[in-house]
């Protein structure tokens, strides 16, 4: 007899099921509950927290709850976008885990009726001997899927820390476009429609613990635990994508839902719940890839490359014709009926029948904790006045978190689709949409170190950093998506840290007036009691005013003035790369969000008239601080002919140069426009300081009392290969 423990439920949840149903569930029903009331499907630990994030905004077409958020880009086009994680599968089988992560988020976008136009990857790895191999195979997997299905990988984020040794993070953002006004989702299914399951034949892949259960309780005979690894098939993914988009373009389906976690169970139940209808699923009609699959396995299989369509009868012939044309396997597996239940049958025999209000909507959620995590141990000693050192420049730019990423992104096709104006060699991606249309700016950040001690400040910083990136292009942010990664939510500390992180994100989103339109939560990133840092991957999509001519991120000629917009009044190294190198990680400072918001508005206004104010180039300060922002502007140019001389106040020290407080920008302006910039505080109320000028000598010199000089070729070597040993 299957028990609630066998399917991962608690005694309280089991009692709740009995109370809500008014009876005990049978074994199959219990299995369905186990899947849908799991953390992964129900978000029971985070849903109430996520509900507090601001979801409304002027450009929001669809907020959280669907397969992806949708925002309006232009009169003609909407953008669907979301971050999804595939952390655990990528640790078990890095290549296939990462590949299926890409496939899964792309299907989410397609299920919204949008054609995917870009992906971005946000990765965190450990520092042990296993990490390089894991990274290599994860990148192979992301590339294998993205390259083959033909969606460009346009930007990304990669970071390292020992806290990810046994829990690497693989988060993927996907972005798609669809005609404005087209409504596609899981919520339109109407009674009388036919349910069609399309794509890959269902196998026993990814049934996790459930396959063990199956062999115990449903009479399977195998001795060894069945392989549960899901294999990605980008070829089938491509056919499935084209067929689905052809069907939705012609308005032939009333609802679309991809199959992800908990496979057929979650897709049918969620479609029914979202559409306020009942569904009848006949497991005997499902095309199986393996012999003798029982109903439990069929309902819970996580075979990839499958999609569920709800098709009105009158459209059935046209849909089947499209599926045949694209050679996508399909089966009519059930029908939509009036009601509010999921009924599982095998021909005429009813195997399970559950109200979706209980199955999908009934899972008890953890209440919101206001007892959020704040650092209450010994306050780590803040770094006192710290004289700038030559080696720090090399150590910081050569730190794994700052280093050149070409060895990763050159393994991804970043150019297919003819939209990539700026790809992964820049800090932010710029995408072309069509002639005369605004473009799309896409940026991701995941500054994990910032959230390590003060998760609330780190959450604010992550959002500020993402918005700072798109602001360099004068792009208008339309929405953000958040990928939350944290430890075991049943323990107090990880849960309070997650709560703090989400509240920080919410606070920033509220102040900066950018809605969070959806995202993903991955919990239990914890091994042997060691939890990861609470890590927020933030993706932002923004409307680019002039995608054919992005504002440069490097100065064009010697003599250009170098300014800093919104330098912090009290620069703080907390959470920075340098602080880690010096062994004083510190706590990330709480930012002056008002000043940042003001600067964001200023940039949006000023970049639209960049030529009139002599603004030649702009780069956001991020990981590695001002030093790395200036250095990258010089060393990523070919040839490396331009240098810079920064002249700082006598008392300016390492804190000014290496702090990572989000919401600062390096501006490169024409010298003739100095009067405008000298008075910008009076005229626009933003703080700007002049820190030096671009030279024609290939070195970075900083004078703050004494002068220190970094030849660019040495910085470049450290940037490319890392480490200070290589250069001096």
């Amino acid at each position: 007899m299957l028990t609630y423990q066998d399917v991962g439920l608690s005694a309280r949840e089991d009692q709740e099921i009995v109370r809500l149903l008014g009876r005990r569930p049978n074994e199959l029903e219990l299995g369905l509950f186990g899947a849908l009331w799991s953390e992964h499907c129900s978000y029971k630990s985070s849903k109430n927290l996520l509900a507090q994030l601001p979801h409304q905004g002027q450009f929001v077409v669809q907020g959280p709850g669907g397969n992806a958020g949708v925002v309006q880009l232009s009169a003609d086009w909407d953008i669907a976008f979301k971050i999804e994680s595939h952390n655990h599968p990528s640790f078990v089988e890095p290549l296939q885990g990462a590949a299926t992560g890409v496939g899964g988020i792309l299907r989410d976008i397609v299920a919204m009726g949008a054609r995917p136009i870009a992906i971005a990857d946000i990765l965190k790895f450990g520092t042990d001997e296993k990490a390089p191999g894991l990274l290599h195979r994860v990148v192979e997997g992301i590339g294998a899927y993205g390259n083959a299905i033909g969606i460009p990988n346009v930007t990304g984020s990669l970071g390292f820390s020992a806290v990810y040794d046994a829990n690497p993070l693989v988060n993927v953002l996907a972005v798609g476009m669809r005609r404005h006004g087209l409504h596609v989702g899981a919520d339109g299914a109407r009674p009388e429609s036919v349910l069609i399951l399309i794509g890959q034949g269902t196998g026993r892949d990814g049934i996790h613990g459930a396959s063990l259960l199956a062999s115990q309780d449903f009479g399977a005979e195998t001795e060894e635990m069945r392989p549960t690894v899901q294999v990605g098939d980008p070829f089938m993914g491509k056919l499935l994508m084209e067929a689905t988009l052809a069907i939705v373009d012609q308005g032939l389906a009333d609802a679309v839902q991809d199959l992800g976690a908990a496979g057929l169970t979650s897709s049918t139940a969620e479609l029914a719940y979202a559409s306020s209808v009942g569904v009848v699923v006949d497991v005997s009609k499902v095309i199986c890839r393996e012999q003798n699959m029982n109903p439990y396995e069929i309902m819970l299989s996580e075979t990839q490359e499958r999609m569920l369509l709800s098709v009105p009868k009158k459209n059935l012939a046209a849909v089947l014709e499209i599926l045949t044309w694209y050679e996508v396997p399909y089966a009519e597996i059930g029908r939509v009926v009036a009601g509010d239940f999921l009924r599982v049958v095998a021909e005429s025999q009813v195997l399970a029948e559950l109200p979706t209000s209980v199955l999908v909507g009934g899972c008890p959620r953890l209440p919101v904790t206001h007892d959020v995590w704040i650092w209450d141990g010994d306050q780590p000693a803040a770094l006192e006045k710290t004289r700038l050192e030559l080696t720090w420049g090399y150590q910081v730019i050569g730190h794994p978190d700052c280093r050149d990423r070409s060895s990763v992104y050159q393994r991804y096709d970043s150019m297919i689709g003819l939209r990539t104006v700026w790809g992964p060699e820049h800090d932010v991606a710029v995408m072309h949409i069509e002639k005369g249309s605004p473009g799309l700016c896409v940026a991701v950040t995941a500054p994990a170190r910032w959230a390590a001690l003060d998760s609330y400040a780190g959450g604010i910083g992550a959002v500020a950093a993402a918005l700072s990136l798109v602001a360099t292009q004068g792009a208008v942010p339309l929405g953000i998506t958040d990928g939350i990664n944290a430890g075991n939510p049943e323990k107090s500390e990880p849960h309070r840290k997650m709560a703090a992180l989400i509240q920080g994100i919410g606070k920033a989103a509220e102040i900066f007036e950018v809605p969070v339109t959806g995202g993903n939560v991955s919990l239990h990133n914890e091994t042997e009691g060691q939890a990861i840092w609470p890590t927020a991957a933030i993706g932002v999509v923004a409307r680019h005013p002039n995608p054919e001519q992005p504002i440069a991120d490097a100065p064009p000629y010697a003599g250009t003035r170098i300014l800093v917009l919104n330098p912090p009044g009290k620069p703080d190294l907390g959470g920075s790369v340098l602080a880690e190198i010096l062994g004083h990680p510190g706590s990330y400072p709480v930012l002056d969000v008002g000043a940042i918001q003001h600067s964001l508005h200023f940039l949006a206004e000023i970049i639209s008239q960049a030529k009139n104010v002599g603004l030649l180039a702009c780069r956001a300060v991020g990981i590695g601080g001002l030093f790395v922002a200036v250095a990258k502007s010089l060393i990523t140019k070919t040839p490396m002919a331009l240098g810079a001389h920064l002249v700082l106040a006598e008392d300016a020290d390492a804190r000014f140069v290496f702090n990572e407080m989000a919401g600062q920008w390096v501006l490169f302006v024409e010298p003739d426009f100095k009067p405008f910039w000298d008075q910008v505080f009076e005229t626009h109320g933003v703080s700007v300081i002049d820190i030096g000028l671009v030279t024609d000598s290939p070195e970075l010199m900083i004078t703050a009392g004494r002068a220190i000089t970094w030849p660019l070729i040495d910085l470049w070597r450290a940037y490319r290969k890392g480490g200070v040993r290589d250069v001096r």
Partner: protein, 233 residues
């Protein structure tokens, strides 16, 4: 403009550069005609392109499964009858697998996919590419996992003698050396021709506008369409 020129673009299951190629051909003023891989004969056409991508997921060997598709009988016949055929990236692999071009494309020595901007030099003037002078250097993207061009022992000299080597990986000045060879191709070969059939690894259809990083693909495709310098924006 050459509105009368019709260019067939063969779409195999898994082809993914077909949209880009159609857009490029349209922007040049020619008429793209989508050709499904199940066709047994071709309509009347002036040119045929096998676009890039991952036909059949690149499974078994890149290009091998597509080379067995029904339409390839018709393409082979048309090529024999003199129809100009251009294979780009995966299209090049398919033409090699089919035996319409000499040689084969092996996995990159790194074992990794590579996507980057690459300078390529026109190795020999070709009647198929009017106005594209020998020595001209083009900046084009490459994006492939199997791009290492190899020929049978002793065949290389013959290919050079017959002027069948069309493009070579080079530096921006057109110099050929090991450092400019991204994938270990023999003699830096990036494109070959066999009478009216051409294959190349770089993607000209991705280099059609300055904002995308280069407009050299425009020049190459315009030349192949016989528009030479007369192509209009």
């Amino acid at each position: 403009m050459n509105n009368d020129l019709s260019v067939g673009i063969v779409v195999f299951p898994g082809s993914n550069c077909d949209h880009d190629t159609i857009a490029a051909i349209s922007s040049l003023g020619a008429k793209p005609v989508v050709l499904d891989y199940r066709l047994h004969s071709l309509p009347v056409l002036d040119r045929v392109i096998l676009p890039g991508g991952f036909s059949y997921g690149d499974y078994l060997r890149s290009g091998a499964l597509a080379a067995a598709a029904p339409i390839m009988d018709a393409v082979e016949q048309a090529a024999a009858d003199g129809l100009p055929v251009l294979g780009i990236c995966n299209g090049f692999q398919i033409l090699c697998e089919r035996g319409l071009l000499p040689g084969t494309l092996l996995p990159n020595p790194s074992g990794e996919f590579i996507c980057q901007w690459q300078a390529v030099r026109v190795a020999s003037e070709s009647p198929l590419f009017t106005g594209l002078d020998q020595g001209r250097v083009l900046r084009l993207p490459i994006a492939h996992h199997e791009g290492s061009y190899r020929v049978a022992q002793g065949q290389l000299a013959e290919l050079f003698e017959r002027g069948q080597i069309f493009l070579q990986y080079s530096d921006a000045e057109g110099q050929l050396h090991g450092l400019t060879n991204p994938n270990g191709s023999v003699a830096n070969i990036a494109g070959v021709q066999n009478r009216n059939v051409v294959g190349l690894m770089p993607h000209p259809e991705r280099a059609m506008a300055a904002y995308l990083g280069s407009r050299d693909g425009w020049d190459l495709l315009a030349s192949w369409l016989g528009m030479g310098e007369n192509a209009v924006c």
